[in-house]
Amino acid sequence: MRPFLERFAQSTQRKLLSLQEYFALGLKSLQFIFARPFYGQDLVQQMDEIGVKSLGIVLLTGFFTGMVLALQSSVQLKLFGMTAYIGTLVTASMIRELGPVLAGLMVAGRVGSGIAAQIGSMRVTEQIDALNTLGTDPIKKLVTPRVLAALIMLPVLTVINDFVGILGGNVIGSLLVKVPASTYWRTVWEAIAGGGFTFRYIPNDFIMGLTKPFVFGGLISITACYFGLNTTGGTEGVGIATTRTVVVSSILILIVDYFITQILLSVLSYG
């Protein structure tokens, strides 16, 4: 019994230490945003990598998600003769939930794995040590530009994802359910306005729809950098770091999504 308890205590201690390191990395990377030198070129490169190069996959998932949402909701709404409200359902679902979560999951899979693999490879080939010996803080050089780029680009990708999703709903509404485009876009606006406003002009849906990807961007990039920097065991270790990044980021997105929703629903005056 005693060895079991000792092992359990050691394992818990290790996990708590890892958690502490994770938060310390996140905090340090955010602090470095305001510290010189500023690696502007790296930031632009990462914005291209995280944002522009993820555009295709986000457009595709957003458009088809919007279409399938419209298709599914039309079946239910037809029962009540309310197919004109397809736009309301698609909009609320896309802006509040599916847009941010899907964009987050896509970026976690495509970009998170890439970051972990790249930094992990740099770790096992001593390039991180080389940065250190050349007088550069690897967190400032590698982590901060990636975190900042993800914080900026994930909300942008989510807005695009939301828009093409709603557009996809319009395509299905017009072609299959025969809802006129004017009616569709009127219900889209009604859905946004129905959520209420903060400071009179800012729709609550926009606040929720942009807060989530901002947080997800931070989670994905910090998780990827954390596992990348802690890679051990050569190329096999790089593979493990990559897998862990995708799994942990995806789970964190889903868990944190619930809590952000819960908090914002109680903070913002919905309805």
């Binding site: 030198p37 080939t125 080389a130 250190n132 010996t133 007088g135």
Partner: protein
């Protein structure tokens, strides 16, 4: 520091093999050959690198009570079996690791308790050449060598390119041919030479080499060894070299430190080492 041999007799027990006379003769003849050029620099100036009673342990003890000094312009070669803490010693000098006990001094300054930011400053005095060169994959040769200059100097791009060309020429590479290439396009020997060029880009007073000749063919090994000697002789750089290649070590070393059982069991000149009757040293030299 005086020759340190404590514990070597004990460790030699049961390891007495045939006396490796051929190896030692080869080494002696090589030393005589080298002595024909310049004398290996060894002065009595204060130590540039100094380890004082350094101990370090991770899951198991790595180093125990290790001490040695590297004087200005000296080349200290650290040798020993695999896993004896040779590369760890370099990481302690770079302050990538902190000793559990003892002190590491660079130019007389104790770096044991300095902050991470101060360590980054101290590292600018040093150039490091990694075992696998550790060139940045995403950067060209020019960008790799220019990296420390862009980070820590106010040189303009023309001056940086001139410095990169100068360093590439020093390591016998054609700047016009290699500057635009990426590390993946270079051979192992070329990567090592670019690694040396990057390490010396900032004109450091200390150069550290981790297995600079490992995995290279004999001709390239000789080239890299000559390069390290050239760096020491022409620029009077203090070097600490970790190597398994005893032939190269005997050509470049001012002093040799032999690590065994977490301690330095021998510290002295190559001549003293090759003339030693210590069974473990004889065994070690013979084994190589």
């Amino acid at each position: 520091m005086a020759e340190n041999r404590q514990g070597s007799d004990r460790r030699g027990e049961g390891r007495r093999g045939p006396r490796p006379t051929k190896v030692r003769e080869a080494i002696r003849s090589e030393l005589a050959e080298d002595a024909g050029d310049d004398e290996v620099v060894s002065t009595l100036r204060p130590p540039v690198v100094s380890l004082e009673n350094v101990s370090l342990a991770f899951d198991r003890p790595i180093l125990k009570n290790v001490s040695f000094d590297a004087m200005a312009g000296e080349t200290i070669c650290i040798v020993g079996e695999s896993g004896t803490g040779k590369s760890t010693t370099l990481k302690l000098i770079l302050r990538l690791l902190k000793p559990d006990e003892g002190r590491v001094l660079i130019d007389g300054e104790d770096i044991t308790e300095i902050s991470f930011e101060e360590a980054l400053e101290i590292r600018q005095k040093m150039g490091m050449v990694f075992q696998g060169a550790a060139l940045f994959d995403s950067m060209s040769v020019l960008e790799n060598i220019a990296y420390p200059l862009r980070e820590h100097t106010d040189l303009d791009e023309d001056e940086i390119e001139a410095r990169v060309r100068e360093k590439l020429e020093f390591v016998d590479l054609d700047p016009d041919q290699v500057m635009a290439q990426y590390p993946s396009e270079l051979s192992g020997g070329m990567r090592k030479r670019v690694g040396i060029a990057r390490g010396m880009a900032n004109n450091p007073e200390i150069m550290l080499y981790d297995e600079p000749t490992s995995g290279l063919d004999p001709l390239t090994t000789a080239t890299i060894t000559k390069l390290i000697i050239k760096l020491q002789r022409e620029l009077n750089v203090t070097s600490v070299v970790v190597s398994h290649d005893i032939r190269s070590v005997f050509r470049m070393a001012s002093k040799v430190a032999l690590l065994y059982d977490q301690r330095i069991t021998f510290f002295g000149t190559p001549e003293e080492m090759s003339g030693s009757d210590d069974p473990y040293i004889r065994d070690f030299l013979g084994g190589l």
